[in-house]
């Protein structure tokens, strides 16, 4: 049974940390807890490395672990959901401050719209749209039939469209 050594861990970590972090954040993990969640995801990956098929890309496998870790973490009661938290823009060149504030607003709007989806739909949508997983890969890592994944993706797209438009134009009411 192959085990994950330190070098392999570092290689996988450097390559996939960004994607796993983005996935957890878009799922709804608060900034203050994301470090603990990342720890649990990569520790689980080390412990379950023997179950990973090296002939296949590692990202779907890791995102499947991340989905389970996030779901379990929510059940523990340790969560501190901070939906709508308003964080200051990170320090940087003042000349692009306006653009960064605008991007942050858009990011907050998209995140709020994502959080309107129920969790399985949100996870499937994020895996598909942002991380490029195929519906079949999503079905495999979420351990559901392909038909379920297609249903979730279709529903997520409709609901997200409605949520984004409603938040972009709060006075107009329903989606176009």
């Amino acid at each position: 049974m192959p085990t994950m050594d330190s070098q392999t861990l570092e290689r996988v970590y450097q390559a996939e940390l960004g994607a796993v972090h983005a996935f957890l954040s878009r799922l709804g993990a608060p900034r203050g807890d994301v470090g603990d969640l990342l720890h649990d995801v990569f520790l689980t990956a080390v412990k379950r490395w023997s179950s990973y098929d090296p002939q296949r890309p590692v990202r779907p496998w890791l995102l499947g672990i991340a989905f389970n870790v996030y779901g379990d973490w929510k059940k523990t009661g340790a969560r501190r959901f901070e939906e709508g938290r308003d964080e200051l823009p990170e320090r940087g060149d003042e000349s692009d401050l306006e653009a960064r504030v605008e991007a942050r607003k858009t990011g907050a709007l998209v995140q709020a719209a994502l959080l309107e989806l129920d969790e399985p739909k949100r996870a499937a949508f994020v895996m598909h749209h942002f991380e490029g997983l195929s519906p079949n890969e999503i079905s495999e890592v979420m351990q559901v039939p392909a038909a379920t994944t297609y249903t979730r993706l279709r529903s997520a797209r409709l609901e997200l469209t409605e949520a984004v438009r409603r938040r972009q134009n709060p006075s107009s009411g329903a989606a176009a």
């Binding site: 085990t3 994950m4 050594d5 330190s6 861990l9 570092e10 970590y13 940390l17 960004g18 972090h21 983005a22 954040s25 878009r26 900034r31 994301v34 470090g35 603990d36 990342l38 720890h39 649990d40 990569f42 520790l43 689980t44 080390v46 412990k47 379950r48 672990i65 389970n68 870790v69 779901g71 379990d72 973490w73 059940k75 523990t76 009661g77 340790a78 990170e90 991007a103 942050r104 858009t106 990011g107 709007l109 998209v110 995140q111 749209h129 942002f130 195929s134 519906p135 392909a146 038909a147 297609y150 993706l153 279709r154 797209r157 409709l158 997200l160 469209t161 984004v164 438009r165 972009q168």
Partner: protein
């Protein structure tokens, strides 16, 4: 059934998703999390040994703002023995968190030459069953509770949390961390004989544990 059957997102929604920035990690978190994973997975001793060959500072202070605070949460006092298994002089690096200054002081302690144990690059010394993913979070909550209680001086509560973990997860994924914590709690509670016995059992079960040196240092 294939991807073409999925309706594309409208252009305005696609644009909003495209304009939303990719979530970025706070500075320092990536390094702190990797270090913590290595410790939890039992890979830290090997990593520390690799780093030690080029390590020349005798004492330094690392700012613990942001990411390193993650390390502080789980490692009240962490000691890594470097040089093990490389045939070089062994040094001990002690990471002492200071909750007031939010800094970690890293001290290098010279260790007299002594027979060094072989460090196998295995994840854990004894083979253990892989627990279900969904139990890891619950295990961590209990151990975090124990650490928090210990740091606030409530050893009874800390011990209760550890015993709860032992009852619920007798062969859990964080068994090694639990046993090390139990030794620390018993020692702090003044139950020195029990702490010594438990350390002996810990040493037998986790012969290569990177947590062992910090326990030795505490009980010295």
């Amino acid at each position: 059934m294939n991807d073409l059957e999925l309706e594309p997102l409208p252009d305005d929604v696609l644009a909003a998703l495209g304009d939303a920035p990719v979530p970025a990690l706070p500075p320092g978190v990536a390094e702190a999390v990797l270090a913590k994973v290595k410790v939890s997975a039992g890979l830290a001793a090997v990593a520390a040994a690799s780093n030690a060959a080029s390590q020349s500072v005798s004492s330094t202070t690392v700012a613990a703002k942001g990411g390193v605070s993650v390390l502080l949460k789980v490692l009240p006092v962490l000691t890594l023995t470097a040089g093990v298994g490389l045939g070089v002089a062994a040094d001990r690096f002690v990471f002492r968190p200071n909750s007031v200054t939010e800094r970690v002081v890293v001290e290098r302690v010279e260790v007299p030459a002594a027979p060094v144990p072989e460090v196998r690059p295995s994840v854990k010394a004894p083979p253990k069953k892989v627990a279900a993913v969904d139990t890891l979070g619950r295990e961590r909550v209990l151990l975090d509770l124990a650490r928090s209680a210990l740091s606030s001086g409530d050893v009874a509560k800390a011990l209760a949390a550890v015993q709860s973990h032992e009852t619920q997860f007798p062969a859990g994924q964080l068994t090694e961390e639990r046993e090390a914590l139990a030794v620390q709690i018993l020692w702090t509670a003044g139950r020195r004989d029990e702490a010594t016995r438990r350390l002996h059992a810990f040493s037998l079960q986790f012969a290569d544990s990177p947590l062992r040196p910090s326990l030795d240092a505490m009980m010295r």
